[in-house]
Amino acid sequence: MKITLTINKHAQTVDVDPRVSLLDALRGELGLTGSKKGCDHGQCGACTVLVNGRRINSCLSLAVMHDGDEVTTVEGLANGELSPLQAAFVEHDGFQCGFCTPGQLCSATGMLGELEDGWPSHASDSLEGGYELTEEELSERMSGNLCRCSCYPGINAAIRQAAEKDGAA
């Protein structure tokens, strides 16, 4: 099936087998191998990308469901230079092997948006919005992204720094 996706701001048309996941379309047909496949089952978060600004596990979604959608992958986060979040990951050593990192970065980007939009999490005291980036909120909201190298201290410090720079928290 032919679909058109706007990927990292560029419209691209691809012809995909309807069984192809969004992740495999990105990695295969579109050659964007930054997004990683850690489980193909929605259990690790390595494949997290932003679809219309929202973070999703791209392994759990079929490419053909995204005709007309806007997709941002790790390759689209830098704008000439590293984004503040990417730079903060390097500075705080928010990775070791780097395999979960594209997913962590896309997830954190989406997460900060959700927080700003007042979406509650399991760690929130109320459903009313106005959430702060507390330790509990941050780690709860990032718990869908596994890091076996266990760089959580660096990941969280990096996200916090980027959020503060951005004035989001």
């Binding site: 087998d17 069984r19 192809v20 495999d24 990695r27 295969g28 964007l32 191998t33 930054g34 997004s35 990683k36 496949k37 850690g38 489980c39 193909d40 089952h41 259990q43 690790c44 390595a46 992958t73 790790v74 390759e75 986060l77 830098a78 590293l82 990417q86 730079a87 990951f89 390097v90 500075e91 050593d93 990775f95 070791q96 092997c97 780097g98 395999f99 979960c100 990192t101 594209p102 970065l105 760690a123 330790e135 509990e136 941050l138 780690s139 709860e140 990032m142 718990s143 992204n145 596994l146 890091c147 076996r148 190298c149 266990s150 760089c151 959580y152 201290p153 660096g154 990941i155 969280n156």
Partner: protein, 725 residues
């Protein structure tokens, strides 16, 4: 030329006097930008035109394999081959095996064994075809539970009379701890891309130790290793699981040859759980005999571990027990049960990860029995020489680790008795443990080419997240007087000199010393051109300085380049003295009185590992180890079906590793130390020390919080709850 060193004795600390000042600093990883932009290419990230996709097929049972619809699948649309080749391997090779593991697809020794490879034009077609292959097995599972096997082996240490020491001891502990079977679960699944150029095979794969892996692959395929080139510039974590070649590598190479096209085989996560070696479950009987003050007179540490028939590895549970504490009467060693479960092998800190953890829990029990502070118990039992061989320690940093860790954690403020602090439904407690891990050195080579632009370092060493790119940059830069941006490190290619590979925490010190030696050879050449003694040479920011003379290195090179080659091997320094790394763990936990849930609130880890080569990457590795300790103590464990041994929970939804919300603030304190016995860099391994004993600090804190001793790890809520009244 080459500068060769066999590390027989103590080395001088030359780095101390060098001027560049980058060694040891918390420099950002040079590979960082590639990793945050998605540009770093892992094993599955490069797919050439015309590449076919292979899917491994798993055995559904034990015994002879019969394929019922081979022709139908083989002839279906888009399928290019169904390969069942006797050279395919049963399970991943053991670390440093250097030869093929057990091979064959006719019969399955464990459920999940790869018994076919379906190759197709696309991933979707290959997956579908692999799922539609109908297999029948006719065998019985045989022995799948450790207690049903007749174990092999005898304790390797039996000295004195432990039974006598136990019966005459003022205080004694005789307990059984069990740890669950577990997995490395590196986030990158095992994956291979293979292609042939005539007789020459090139393979991109997820591997830790290329020089061994090349021989393992060549031996499996029955070809000359000279015809095999392996590439692994980026590896998405290893933790032991990529020490040896895995099933995808051999199968992809066979398929690529047969079909004359490149073939990619990526293991599905659920396959990785089965085909790659797990950490054996352990059953550990620990006996401690002590006098009234808690001084040990006897130590027993006897374990039962398991592995598949034909595998040479047995989890060395008591590796550190041999030298951790004194006590004249000793019975220490492992027995091995041969089981038809997926193969066991090295997982981060084989031996100590589970052995030190259980032993340090037993030490906590002894401290309670004697009625002294657990830190004090350790301090009273630090041996002044190796308690079994009598050789001296190269350095012994346990006391300092315990004291400084306790200070940073605020240990002194602790209530002595358990069940003393309560906050609502939660019991709060603190616990500690000592950390030990043997320090190893292997053999490694590296080369450096110094040109006016800077230095290029090459070795087939890997960076599996450990920071190899960073530390080798720093080592070469320090020795050659170059800033980091003028050093380029190239790794993960068997056309480069063979490094040590990544494993056993020996990679940084071993390959680091090879790079160091290569740089020393270049320094000697520069000194010659400066007409001075190498010892009087200062190199900094691309300038060579000797006495009053100062010249840019580029000028000395005179348009050419200088080459250095370093080669290091372990010598008598690894047998004349006992080399170990030491540390201390402290943890505070909350235990829910109603649900039995345990939450870790904070952890402190103090570690002594010789010279720290990069303060930032070192810290990250310690975070990793401590986090694994949380997982081991509380959530991680494979469940084997008792009827047939298969792994029930073979995915991330059911195998529970610590996630972001499970990890509290981790305070890591790295002790500044030099160990002259460990080689010229005076650095030791640290990638594994952080896990050794970390789980014990958590479990000891659970006991202190709520009074429950959980001796079957992981301490899941049901096990904690069973002890709460």
């Amino acid at each position: 030329m080459s500068l060769d060193l066999k590390v027989d004795g103590q080395s001088e600390d030359r780095a101390e006097g060098y001027a560049q000042g980058i060694l040891g600093t918390p420099m950002d990883r040079p590979d960082g930008e590639a990793k945050v932009t998605g540009a770093a290419t892992y094993a599955a990230d490069e797919v050439p035109e015309g590449c076919l996709v292979g899917m491994l097929v798993r055995a559904p049972g034990h015994g002879r394999i019969e394929v019922l619809n081979l022709d139908e699948v083989r002839n279906s649309d888009g399928v290019r081959a169904v390969i069942r080749d006797p050279r395919m391997i049963r399970n991943a090779a053991q670390g440093t095996a250097n030869q093929a593991p057990v091979q064959g697809v006719d019969k399955a020794d464990y459920i999940g064994q790869p018994v076919a490879l379906v190759v197709a034009e696309s991933f979707e077609t290959a997956r579908h075809a692999a799922h539609s292959l109908k297999l029948r097995t006719d065998g019985s599972p045989g022995i799948v539970n450790p207690e049903d096997a007749e174990p092999e082996g005898e304790p390797d240490t039996t000295t004195g009379d432990l039974d006598g020491a136990m019966s005459s001891a003022a205080h004694s502990v005789d307990v059984i701890y069990t740890t669950a079977s577990s997995v490395s679960a590196a986030m990158e699944p095992h994956a291979t891309l293979a292609w042939w150029d005539g007789d020459r095979l090139t393979v991109r794969s997820a591997l830790q130790m290329l020089k061994y892996n090349r021989n393992e692959l060549a031996d499996s395929l029955e070809i000359d290793p000279e015809n095999v080139r392996l590439l692994a510039p980026f590896v998405g974590g290893g933790f032991g699981s990529k020490l040896g070649i895995s099933a995808d590598a051999v199968a992809a190479a066979i398929a690529a040859k047969e079909l004359g096209r490149p073939v990619q085989v990526v293991q599905h996560r659920r396959q990785v759980f089965e085909t790659v070696t797990r950490r054996s479950e352990t059953r550990q009987r620990i006996r401690l005999a002590a006098d009234a003050e808690g001084r040990l007179s006897g130590i027993g540490h006897e374990s039962l571990v398991s592995n598949l028939p034909g595998e040479g590895f047995a989890e060395p549970v008591a590796q550190a027990t041999h030298f951790a504490y004194g006590g004249a009467h000793r019975v220490i060693g492992e027995r091995l049960a041969r089981l038809n479960r997926p193969a066991a092998g090295s997982v981060r800190a084989p031996g100590e990860a589970v052995g030190v953890t259980a032993f340090e829990c037993a030490m906590d029990e002894l401290a309670s029995d004697v009625g002294i502070d657990p830190v004090e118990l350790r301090l009273r039992n630090i041996p002044d020489k190796d308690p079994e061989s009598g050789i001296p320690f190269s350095s012994h940093m346990l006391e300092r680790s315990l004291r400084e860790g306790a200070e940073r954690f605020g240990w002194a403020a602790r209530d002595v008795a358990p069940r003393a602090r309560r906050e609502g439904e939660w019991w709060i407690g603190t616990g500690m443990a000592a950390a030990f891990r043997v320090n190893l050195m292997m053999e490694a080579e590296a080369r450096i080419a110094l040109s006016p632009e800077g230095a290029v370092v090459e070795t087939d060493m890997t960076d599996i997240g450990t920071g190899t790119y960073a530390i080798l940059t720093q080592i070469a830069g320090e020795a050659l007087g170059l800033p980091a941006d003028r050093v380029e490190v190239r790794l993960g290619d068997t056309t480069f000199p063979p490094g040590s590979g990544s494993g056993g925490s020996f990679g940084a010190a071993t390959t680091g010393n090879a790079v160091w030696l290569a740089a020393q050879e270049i320094r000697q050449a520069i000194a010659q051109r400066m007409n001075c003694d190498e010892a009087d040479l200062t190199l900094k920011d691309g300038t060579a300085i000797c006495g009053n003379e100062s010249r840019p290195i580029a000028e000395l090179l005179d348009g050419g380049s200088l080459n250095g080659h370093g080669h290091v091997t372990a010598g008598d320094a690894f047998s004349d003295v006992r080399q170990s790394t030491f540390g201390a763990h402290f943890a505070e936990v909350a235990v829910n009185d109603v649900t039995g849930e345990v939450r870790v609130r904070r952890m402190q880890g103090t570690f002594a590992c010789g010279r720290i080569l990069n303060e930032k990457t070192a810290r990250s590795q310690c975070h990793g180890g401590m986090t694994w300790g949380i997982g081991m103590a509380l959530t991680e464990g494979l469940t084997h079906d008792r009827r047939d041994g298969h792994i029930v929970n073979r995915d991330f939804a059911e195998y529970h590793m610590a996630v972001n919300a499970d990890v509290p603030p981790l305070d890591v304190h790295l002790l500044e130390e030099r160990d002259p016995w460990s080689g010229p860099l005076q650095a030791k391994g640290l990638g594994e020390l952080g896990i050794c004993g970390a789980g014990a600090a958590v479990l000891n804190a659970v006991h202190h919080a709520c009074g429950v001793r959980v001796r079957d790890m992981p301490a899941t809520p049901d096990r904690v709850l069973a002890g709460l009244e």
